[in-house]
């Protein structure tokens, strides 16, 4: 009796072990394959909170004034990195205002690094200028431009009625960069050793598509290497995540919502002025989400305003652009990115390309998977990301490590861009660009 019970228990155990082995073997193999190439960049003393509040630490990416002389600090006009950059302009599209860009040239011959910012960023943004300084301090000349989804770039260099469709945006950026590089080379013949492209966030995604564009171009700009920092894999899904952040406060009362925004902005300003307090960003997670969404939606609203200003609203907006804009803002305020993409971007892409595209087509053509074969073989492209970036998921991390192999580097924490202020990150973004000094 007892023997029988033990025997059946043993059978049961063996069967379970066998089944687990059958199910587990492919997963283990997959695990080994996926994780073998994930290279982690260690950051000393990074006290992580969560992926949202860590992301807000990008505000700590500020132009450093520590290397200023006493006279530079006392008389800051035209002193300091931010003010030292020359604001230049170049004509990109006929009958449009000139595109502005900021340039820092080294005295002697040096590599030229072009930095593309995240969604909606203006070239005068502090984070973008701070990243430019990292490369300048490393001995490079640096150029920065506004994002393809910023009003400044749109009004000067976009040939679409509304930006947001990656393949056409990439064409516009490529066109603008070729003119900028030609202009700089014309004025500084012997001062440019090589040209390199860096982008972060949406700019990181643009960088990867631009690398592919350069590879099939007959008249090349001549990029020697590329670095993509925190790119999304599927930009539309990423922007929908931002829309979700904006919806976070739906259940809050109006008073509660107002107070949460005030607290988050106050926490943000304290972070900018005084740095981390007790090694923390003093903002709650849900407040942080609304803050990120608010900043992103403000830039979308401004882009929509510029579309209305140049008369490209394609019939989606009833109110006309005029001196007072209260009524126009009321119409623009409810636009989520999904609504913008489904109306403006879809129609603008169809008008430019001459054929209708569904949202599914637009999303798949803008997805990094479309150029995965190219990315696998392009050994002059590197990637820096973090494992907990809220714009990507675990599947994306695996995809990145499979495609980029040893050219992919990950931070454990930092959320979206929130580790870039650290010394380790500054070293990494220079080291992994493969500069030719």
């Amino acid at each position: 009796m007892y023997n029988y019970r033990y025997r059946s228990l043993f059978q049961c155990f063996m069967l379970a072990l066998l089944t687990a082995f059958i199910f587990l073997t492919p997963s283990l193999a997959c695990f080994a394959k996926d994780h073998a190439t994930v290279q982690i960049i260690k950051v000393k003393g990074y006290n992580t909170q969560d992926e949202v509040r860590d992301s807000i630490r990008f505000a700590l990416c500020r132009v450093s004034k520590s290397n200023l002389s006493f006279w530079g600090r006392e008389y800051p006009i035209n002193a300091g990195f931010y003010n030292k950059g020359d604001i230049c302009s170049v004509s990109v599209v006929e009958d449009r205002p000139k595109l502005l860009y900021k340039l820092w040239m080294q005295e002697k011959s040096a590599p030229l690094v072009i930095v593309l910012p995240g969604i909606g960023s203006h070239f005068q943004g502090m984070g973008l200028n701070a990243i430019a300084q990292v490369y300048y301090d490393a001995g490079c000349s640096v150029v920065i431009i506004s994002s393809a989804m910023n009003w400044e770039f749109y009004m000067a260099a976009s040939r679409s009625k509304a930006p947001g469709y990656i393949p056409t945006d990439v064409e516009d950026i490529y066109n603008a960069l070729s003119k900028i590089v030609a202009e700089i080379k014309k004025d500084n013949v012997d001062k440019i050793k090589s040209v390199h492209l860096v982008g972060y966030s949406l700019g990181g995604l643009h960088t990867l598509f631009l690398a592919e564009r350069e590879a099939r171009s007959k008249k090349k700009i001549g990029f020697k290497s590329y670095l993509s920092i925190h790119p999304p894999v599927d930009p539309y899904s990423s922007m929908f995540i931002m829309d979700k952040f904006f919806e976070r406060g739906t259940g809050w009362s109006e008073k509660e919502m107002r107070l949460k925004i005030e607290r988050s902005v106050a926490g943000y300003l304290q972070l900018v002025d005084d740095g981390l307090s007790d090694d923390k960003v003093k903002i709650l997670k849900d407040e942080g989400e609304v803050l990120i969404a608010y900043a992103y939606r403000s830039s979308l609203r401004e882009l929509l305003l510029s579309i209305c200003k140049v008369g490209n609203d394609m019939g989606f907006i009833k109110e006309k652009y005029g001196f007072t804009k209260g009524a126009l803002y009321k119409e623009l305020n409810p636009y989520s990115f999904a609504k913008y993409a489904d109306s403006f971007v879809k129609k603008a892409a169809a008008m430019r390309l001459g054929n209708d595209l569904s949202m599914k087509d637009m999303a798949s053509n803008s997805n990094l998977h479309t150029i995965s074969e190219f990315l696998k073989t392009a050994d002059n492209i590197s990637l820096i990301h973090s494992l907990d970036d809220f714009l990507i998921n675990k599947k994306d991390v695996i995809w990145f490590s499979r495609v980029f192999g040893e050219r992919a580097y990950f931070f454990r924490n930092g959320g979206h861009l929130g580790e870039l202020y650290t010394a380790e990150a500054k070293v990494s973004i220079v080291k992994h660009l493969d500069l030719k000094f």
Binding site: D243, K330, N333
Partner: protein, 257 residues
Amino acid sequence: MKIRFTLLIFISLLFASFFCLQAPVSGAQVVKPVKELKRDLFSVISLPDPIEGYNRVIFEFNDFLMVWFFDPLMTGYSFIVPKSGRKHIDMSIVNLEYFIHLVACLMQGEFKGALIETERFFINLTLGVGGIFDVAKSWFGLQPHTEDFGQAFAKWGIGPGFYFVLPIAGPSTFRDAIGMIFFVACHPITWIPVPGLGTFVFVNRMSLRVEQYMSIRDPALDKYESMKDMWYLNRKIEIENLDRSDHPYFTDDKGRF
């Protein structure tokens, strides 16, 4: 026997599913697009602006003055007086505003704030050489409570009214504009009969803020709207005293952060 066999299969599957849960590959994150936003966040934190036409005209005038008159003037002035010099001049003026801060604190029932402001005034007046140095903060850790009449009115429950751009003085609300009348009337500089002193104090203060103004102005397409939103948010933070790093919300966080 049949039951035992079923049990055997069930346990096996349970084991198997447990082990398989440890597999590292997660499913793709499905993000559904948000077509229509349920709440207009911008209007929640925005001020009513019934006189937008007037405000925009005054804003354009102020902006023109800032870019073509004050900015060059301040650039010239900044070359004569170094930054730390300008800062210390402003500190001494802020110290002279003690009476305003005191009354505004008392109007709000902030007796602790009133006491701290009094301590700060006397410490800075004596040890800080007439307020040129803020030793009350740096030596004694006494944070300033720079309250004004607009803040006191807000604490009394008076609403902001509407957005109101004042010539030269810039963004305000109807409530804060009334507060500003009291501020100017109570300001010691108003009562010192030295011609041009008020202009000097204004230019000195603006020279410390012009960079901040330009950093908001330059990247914006609609400079009026950007300035309005930023100013109002900042003002609300001042009213709630969230601009102080020693505010209980930040210091007694109870593990919130």
